[in-house]
Symmetry: C2
Subunit: 425 residues, 2 copies
Amino acid sequence: MKITKLSNAISLKRQLEGGNEQQLLTVRQVLQDVRNLGDAALRKYSEMWDGIQIEDFRVSKQEIEEAVLNFDPQLKSDLEEAAANIRYYHEAQKREGYKLPLENGSWLAQRIVPLDAVGLYVPGGLAAYPSSVLMNVIPAQVAGVERIVITSPAGKDGKLPEAVLVAASILGITEIYKVGGAQAIAALAYGTESIAPVDKITGPGNIYVALAKREVFGEVAIDMIAGPSEIAVLADDTAFADEIAADLLSQAEHDALACAVLITTSERLALAVAEEVEKQLRSLPKEEIARKSIENFGQIYIADTMEQAIDAVNSLAPEHLEIVTQHAEEDSLKIRHAGAIFIGRYSSEPVGDYFAGTNHVLPTNSTARFASGLNVDDFIKRTNVVYYTEKTWEQNGPKIARLARMEGLEGHARAVESRGWTKGD
Amino acid sequence: MKITKLSNAISLKRQLEGGNEQQLLTVRQVLQDVRNLGDAALRKYSEMWDGIQIEDFRVSKQEIEEAVLNFDPQLKSDLEEAAANIRYYHEAQKREGYKLPLENGSWLAQRIVPLDAVGLYVPGGLAAYPSSVLMNVIPAQVAGVERIVITSPAGKDGKLPEAVLVAASILGITEIYKVGGAQAIAALAYGTESIAPVDKITGPGNIYVALAKREVFGEVAIDMIAGPSEIAVLADDTAFADEIAADLLSQAEHDALACAVLITTSERLALAVAEEVEKQLRSLPKEEIARKSIENFGQIYIADTMEQAIDAVNSLAPEHLEIVTQHAEEDSLKIRHAGAIFIGRYSSEPVGDYFAGTNHVLPTNSTARFASGLNVDDFIKRTNVVYYTEKTWEQNGPKIARLARMEGLEGHARAVESRGWTKGD
């Protein structure tokens, strides 16, 4: 791993693949086909791309029950405990609206209303991601969303991974469809004969899924377009090199474009971590991916002072930040920009990926400067409410009419004044 | 105005102009130029498009003071009162994070951090929009944003409208730039020698501004891309036709693409409103615009029952909804989708545009199904924080490692386990 003396502002922004023109045209064709042809288009593309023929997209109750029966009880119990932790953390985000009294019986209010329906895309491929199911579904449930749909590509056997079905079952989700790719996003956005449309689509996916989400954005809401994972570790001489190295690699193994950075005031630690990373890489099953990530985007920065190191972290605005310093909690209070912060030696980042309760859907590529991880607010909307009595109207109508006329909007002024035009009541 | 019997689901979605290819290429060129050349590009485009030569983009303290001195004291007082009302409503949206204790001294937290810097674009042209200044700046101030910048195109006299400067001055905003168009958005996103970049850009603008905001989205955050205004009025036989007609026209006068809809259980009211709209149109200064809007998108629907009418409103998900019925507040509780609701005869919609305190930046084109009006949460972010003690790690580490391995992420499992590898401490 490269070791550099920290001097200037640093950045972890990467130029990310936005999909090429051909991919975009393909996605647009898929969206249009699903919009026009519904289920027939879903069947066509499932056969074309996933090589499977699907009669009924909906996963049956029996399939879910079978998955639960076959599943390792220990893992099921782990998932259940994780789900309970995630629910506990997100319940605290639930909010009420408010009502503010004004004079003369008037009032203003903000009402909080959950979305009617949301769809979660769960990627398929070589692995199953039950943790994605927990992290996306639970905030929506806490928000009070009534209809939550999961869609995911079926394997060659025409089935969804057991782990995904078990995670869904633990949460009580039963509307699950075997559709993947851009066609799944189209079905969620526009609806088909089998799949009613939703109001918001969340969840990660490949480039076709990401492009499709961008295209349907506006028609429905989407979560962020997630970029490759990032970890920054802020550490001083009290940290253990093998632990820091292992944590850096835990993100590097996600993606060759992932980014793992150590910022430390300790030259000793810097050298030791570089050595440990190399050592641990050699026995990592995903060595090839992780090595590419470390070679291309891995960096160790040596800072003169903790203050300088903290400034550097704030300029990175990393998705994940570990703070392994003598006064870790105190240092954490100086961080303005990070998706999630892990404090102290025992808060290894994967703790948050799976189990602690915080959400693992987090802003990447420095967008933590302005964006937040997935949370309950992503599944509600706020409605402003105004109630003016006659007396309040009488007192304020002339002011409102003046302001409207100042902006050249005579119709607005007249609307307010029209209440005085009427029938002597 | 067309009168129809309400039968099927109705929609107010309009196919909106997304800008043509030529406009997009122009905007991309502007963005690139500003990114590469900074202030020089701002000067070039100000001269090219606004026909003005600008030496110093920053509005001087003196210019602001002069504007305040010259301004109508009554209007200034109206703006001050509106600002106080808006602040009162938005203060209730301010939130704290939370900290949740776990067993063994561990804890989870959510921290709320305001954005560092935001930029508000205020459109220029024929009218000045001080209400935009209030509605965009105050939520950011309540959120705790430290740096708030306004940018707006100067007139031929090289000045900004007094009303805009006065509104800014009332709020204590002094960083104001005379730059408009796509080049202003570029300056806010990338920064130039004179203008430091911001983290989020809000505010309406013409098609070039809208396209530029879309293009820089990701680099910085943006608010919604606002569409043409909409009003739906839900009324029964207790409503007065002249008042409803005036309210419909108040939105129709904004834009030929604006949409004004009445849904009523009263045939009498339907006929009378249609007549009144025609009558009032004739004396409206913006008759031409309002007439186009009414002809193209205006509709009166007669519903059999209030229940049917309310269902129709929910399918519209209008930006603004007025409820003028006998039990207006009760009826309002059945509305799930609306940007803002105005209850009762005296809550004419312009009351909220200018004065009541609720925000007038609201979701259009049916996006109230999933989106909210501008609010304090738009200017903060949430950071998840995890603190695990050794004991908590010991108890849960094996579960986390199992979950990671189930997803094929051995590096994640090892990171958690690495805490047990070390030096017998």
